[in-house]
Symmetry: C2
Subunit: 124 residues, 2 copies
DNA sequence: CCCAAATTAAACCACTCAGTTAAACAACAT
DNA sequence: ATGTTGTTTAACTGAGTGGTTTAATTTGGG
């Protein structure tokens, strides 16, 4: 069983990437990265109905990126626990990482000049 | 210009993550990571029509992950050039990384017991 | 020129998705 | 009990997706 059920966790990857492919959900994650929030708190910045936000959160949950605990009548959402805990800020890191990458690519593609490859932008 | 027009390249991120959210496209990327391929070569392993594969490639192209050069009547697809070049294998890396992460999470969630975590299953 | 190969384009289908509104449910306050 | 707050569910819409099949397009080879 060297590569046992790659297909299965491929579905998980599908869910994760799909969850990340929406800007609202990405910003929700970023919001969650600075502490747990209720659904309402998550929905507020986006001028979006509760129901809509609820769906987004469910998508994030399904992808295993967000964890929910019901406290009274409010649902407390937080980034995924234990094993995925580190993956959360790693996620934010690589989002920025890719932002840089794609930004550089865009610049590169706009100018036909090749040569001054700016690397080492590992700031902060 | 710390965070200038985040919205704009957010669309790029959308495209990239969406491109990655499909297993066929991910495997196409993996295939491309070992060298450029024609559309037909890309389509072959998936028991899928040329037209279908063509669409997938177009999606990858739109996300800036794949680069196409027309050689005669065949189209030669390769992973994106210069700045995204490193992002390609980085991509494969973090795919495995996340596979492990999610796999561990799944195991963790299945067993309410915490402590006797069987680790070290870093096969292959 | 004509035919076959490689690819795209167009039209279409079933399905999903992001969003809404309206209603239901749950829990705290009065 | 009634109301109000936080959230989900249900039903719906409009748009997009992955997939197909059937042309059209380009190109290389007799």
């Amino acid at each position: 069983m060297v590569t046992p059920m790659v297909q299965q966790r491929s579905e998980q990857l599908d869910a994760v990437f799909h969850a990340l492919s929406d800007p609202t959900r990405r910003e929700m994650l970023r919001s969650l990265s600075s502490g747990p929030r209720s659904i309402g708190e998550l929905a507020a910045p986006f001028s979006m109905s509760f129901a809509g936000a609820s769906k987004h959160v469910k998508t994030l949950e399904r992808a295993g990126l967000v964890n929910r605990s019901v406290e009274g009548r409010t649902h407390r959402c937080s980034l995924a626990p234990a094993p995925l805990a580190g993956a959360a800020d790693w996620l934010r890191f690589y989002e920025r990482f890719w932002n840089d990458r794609l930004d550089a690519l865009e610049r590169e593609l706009r100018k036909p000049e090749r040569g001054g490859a700016k690397k080492g932008e590992r700031k902060e």
